[in-house]
Subunit: 316 residues, 2 copies
């Protein structure tokens, strides 16, 4: 019944960190790592590998930089088969900060890019591949990609890039399942030597179903996050993904436990999930930053005004 090739990556700490400047304390991250390890999840993404020249360490939590020493503190003493992933953004990483794989606790480096920056992303992925890491390319804001440019980028990735996985990223949570089918089929048809992945956002409550849709059309790498924690509306919930997948190696119970003990209390500190402003930016295929700002303001429930503001801008 199950497809052994499917790999689950939990990005709770990485995508969730976008909501609190990556200021998760060590205890919390260790609890999450324990739960993910016991659940049998394949990868856990800890955060970003950002340049400390571009971002002041005192303004952010550790997981904006993911120093190897900090990752070692997380995993110390915890029995696990889960691999460690970090994300890098084009133009925000100092490649000399990244040691060869043999000297690092990190297993995989994922390069996040827009279609327009694919050449830079290929350079980074190949560089990290040469250092011994598993690598992926994550194409963000795919809902805004022009079809001819996306085709060209995918062809270039197939020919020039050593990354073994290319992810489709629905950054704005705007896509319906018909477009997921279209994009995954396109990617599979061009990326003959690679796996395809899916990273979905939950603005329209479609993150889980879009990830299932991607699986139906042979995506084998799927992102999820515990209780959906992630930027704005969040991501595909890990607990639902484990309920859906039939691979006997997965166990939903450690995830249920950590939601009870850590994520219910966390809801008092960070707001994420289904809120109308996120639904509106999803429907309108807009970046969620305006919605996040609204939720931080005293107009947080002024939905019509927010909607009118976005549709009223016009574009010519």
């Amino acid at each position: 019944m199950f497809r052994e090739k499917i790999k689950v990556l939990d990005c709770t700490i990485r995508d969730g960190g976008l909501m609190n400047n990556h200021k998760f304390d060590l205890r919390f991250v260790r609890e999450v790592y324990k739960a993910i390890s016991e659940a049998g999840i394949d990868y856990m993404e800890m955060g970003y590998k950002n340049s400390k020249r571009l971002f002041a360490p005192k303004e952010f939590g550790k997981w904006k930089f993911c120093d190897d020493a900090d990752i070692r503190e997380v995993i110390k003493g915890i029995k696990s088969k889960t691999k460690i992933s970090v994300m890098v953004d084009v133009d925000r990483v100092d490649i000399e900060d990244v040691l060869p794989k043999k000297d690092s606790p990190v297993d995989m480096i994922r390069v996040a890019t827009y279609v327009k920056d694919v050449d830079k992303a290929i350079f980074l992925a190949n560089h990290f591949s040469d250092k011994g890491y598993e690598t992926t390319i994550n194409i963000m804001a795919i809902s805004r990609a022009l079809d001819n440019e996306l085709n060209e980028a995918l062809e270039q990735l197939e020919k020039e890039c050593k990354a073994k996985v290319v992810y489709i990223v629905d950054s704005f949570g705007s896509l319906y399942q018909e477009t997921i089918e279209f994009l995954i089929k396109k990617a599979k048809s061009i990326l003959k030597s690679k796996e395809v992945g899916m990273h979905a956002h939950n603005n329209q409550q479609l993150a889980f179903s879009n990830t299932i849709e991607a699986i139906i059309h042979d995506a084998n790498y799927v992102d999820c996050s515990i209780y959906g924690l992630g930027r704005g509306a969040g991501n595909c919930p890990t607990e639902l993904m484990l309920g859906f997948l039939k691979n006997p190696k997965f166990d939903i119970r450690p995830i249920l436990d950590v939601i009870s003990t850590e994520f219910i209390p966390l809801q008092k500190e960070i707001e994420w999930g289904y809120f109308i402003p996120y639904a509106i930016t999803g429907i309108l295929d807009e970046h969620p930053r305006s919605a996040i700002a609204l939720r931080d303001s005293d107009k947080k429930e002024n939905y019509r005004e927010f909607y009118e503001g976005l549709v009223g801008e016009g574009e010519d």
Copy 2:
């Protein structure tokens, strides 16, 4: 771009009433009716037409009985093209309580049934059709229906029933899109003279995507509820459905308004939406009653114990 035959039914007051014994006050129901009317939604379902011999009126709100006089109070003075629907359950309605259509503000009567009770449902639907109402059959708990029995029921509905629409009802919120495709295609292939509808529950955050899936496979009647209000995890959110449908007659803005003014405050009185116990009953294809009871108890966040209790029961 849009399919004119698609009819949207908002069941906020009817399905939401299952969370508060139908005790919505008149002002609230009028605000919802106004919003639905201004949004251009085709039908609004007010509640159930239950026998007052079976249920004591003093224990329930008006919308468990939907007297014509109470419906008239709701719609009085509000400009609207929205038709009024009520639901009846097999064995719970006194048919003599239902006046001929020409004497009632109700336009449509929906008969909710399990597969095993389809003969009783056909009798009721035909009776109400003869009284002049639009009628539908809503097959509940479809995830538990045996395939041969479902086939037989659908064939019987096609041959013997005057209802113009048959709904697939995913009562437990347990179905993934592949099964929705299977069921809608089956229903369409047998019910050649009828329309097919979809009523989804949101236990696994799949109510919206499953309703889209049904539309893709030619279901033309879709249920939704404002801000997803409904039993347990609730239903397909009306605001997302209007964002998806392209019919220019729909306007999302009145729905956004009523969420701001009525549904955000209502969240302090009634709990509905995505909570882990509802996800668990959805994953396990169980009725949500145990999850609703848990959320009312002092063990409301004891997810593992709840899960173990359901999977540990065993069946032989």
